[in-house]
Symmetry: C2
Subunit: 314 residues, 2 copies
């Protein structure tokens, strides 16, 4: 397996560490690039992956330096928060091999466009489904799913070939589907995020409890309906009822999960709300689509974010 590409994970938080860890566990050469305390713990003692089916300490390279981490990287899992998409793209550009593939593992539907605007590189969008949390420096707890959908942007060059990439993941027990319509997949995941992320952050509730309360289900269904309406206006046709059904299935399957937005709030970090309900609200306003529930969720998360950041620093 060491004949395959070297993988670098940029922005190795819970999600990046989970997938990087699974690849490393399968023998793939992986370097994690992320924040100091987490990377230092992993460099010293390996990544402790507290999985659904196993609990293992995985030896894996970890660094805070892009220059060091990107050396020889043929595949880059781009896992940075969406607030930093452009800045992270510009920071990694000097160390990017000409034939390296950047896979955007991020939330939201416009990251690859933003990466292209920033550095002129066609990144590959990935719809990522996983529930994971950093529970201590060097330790990631996996609470649900862990599968990928990749695909080339409709209007972009269909390079590189996605088959070997999908095989690389599949060989590491990471289910990876290749989609002919990645926009639909990204918007589908967006609908899930718009249903769960803000509500989980505002109420500190896990997914399983969220879907048990009738008025919360109504809120989630309305957030999904607004997302579907905006997606349609952007040319991506989604079924509202299918999205709602998918959301409830996801809530049952990941009942113990809290959203990444909830985790950001808990850590006093900026959230990705502008790429989630905030994107729907912004595009809705531009397209003349009313998004009252999205607007409300965004306003509340923005204010909670301010409270959380000031509590951390104050």
């Amino acid at each position: 397996m060491s004949s395959g590409p070297t993988v670098a994970v940029v922005g190795a938080g819970a999600v990046g560490c989970y997938f990087g860890g699974m690849l490393a566990r399968a023998g793939v050469r992986v370097t994690l690039i992320g924040r100091a305390p987490h990377m230092e713990a992993i460099a010293r003692e390996g990544l402790l992956l507290d999985g659904l089916r196993f609990h293992e300490r995985i030896p894996i390279a970890a660094t805070t330096s892009l220059e060091e981490g990107l050396r020889d990287a043929g595949v880059i899992l781009f896992c940075v928060k969406t607030v930093s998409t452009e800045s992270a793209a510009r920071e990694l550009q000097p160390f990017l091999a000409p034939d390296a593939a950047i896979l955007s593992f991020q939330n939201g539907v416009d990251n690859v466009d933003r990466i292209y605007s920033a550095i002129g590189v066609h990144a590959i969008p990935v719809a990522v489904y996983v529930a994971a949390e950093i529970t201590a420096p060097g330790r990631v707890t996996h609470t649900g799913r862990g599968d990928l959908i990749v695909g080339h942007r409709a209007a972009w060059p269909r390079q590189p070939d996605l088959e070997p990439l999908a095989s690389l993941f599949e060989s590491a027990e990471i289910p990876c589907k290749i989609s002919p319509s990645i926009e639909t997949e990204l918007w589908t995941k967006m609908a899930m995020n718009c249903a769960y992320n803000a509500v989980s952050a505002l109420t500190r509730a896990r997914y399983g409890r969220m879907i048990q309360l009738a008025p919360v289900r109504t809120t989630m269904e309305r957030a999904i309906a607004e997302t579907v309406a905006v997606a349609r206006a952007e040319g991506v046709s989604l079924s509202e009822s299918a999205m709602i059904q998918a959301a409830y299935q996801l809530g049952e399957k990941m009942s113990g999960a809290t959203s990444s937005t909830a985790q950001d709030i808990a850590r006093g970090r900026p959230t990705e709300i502008d790429s989630l309900n905030g994107y729907v609200a912004r595009r809705g306003a531009a397209l003349g689509i009313a998004t009252p529930v999205s607007d409300t969720l965004v306003a509340l998360v923005k204010l909670l974010e301010e409270s959380a950041v000031s509590r951390q620093s104050g």
Copy 2:
């Protein structure tokens, strides 16, 4: 002054202790009736009133017994949470003197109707404006306003005379207006509560910070617009723009306040959301008025309440 009526405060939390304390400080005979730790501290050491203009320890009778506390009470400040309106009314009924006046100091617009349904007594509605918090057993911190508007329900007997009641409050430095249209005053206060309470609880933000964030202002304005629409359908005419202006003035005047809903959440107690945005949502649904922002706020507070209660007990 000791020739005036004896005042009992039923449900003496922050609001009841503030007004009871102000009356006692002016020489009125007052008994507070409330929960054990708070009442025991006050019976032992007096009420520590951490005021805007003063900081005083006020000797005042305090008990957990309705029978004891209501003895000789001519005026009852009914300050219980709206979730307990009927049950508290029934509990106090056996100890109620025939000519005692019950003043509902509660949030919401339907408490006096609920009291009448429960015990057949015409209570007097009061629109209460005060920001106060219990900061320790026996200690209440006052952070804003402290004024009242009283009036008889339009369709009810105009008894007792409200002038002596208003004078009683005024003599204790509690501004008290008599309104010929108390329904309008209650709905006006409702609009303020619907703008601030849930948002403050969900974001842990104080009022001053809430009104500085544009999307939050939009949320507040929409919550007010929905409240005004429901009030109109119920026959109470309010001006939306005047309500919005009043809300911003209130936020500036009480910039350090958090809502009672936020305080309930922090203590792991049930909130009054069903009497606030929940009332607007329920009446809106019955009257065919869309209330998407109210619905969303209610759903979120209900779920947060569940999280908060389970955290306290778990």
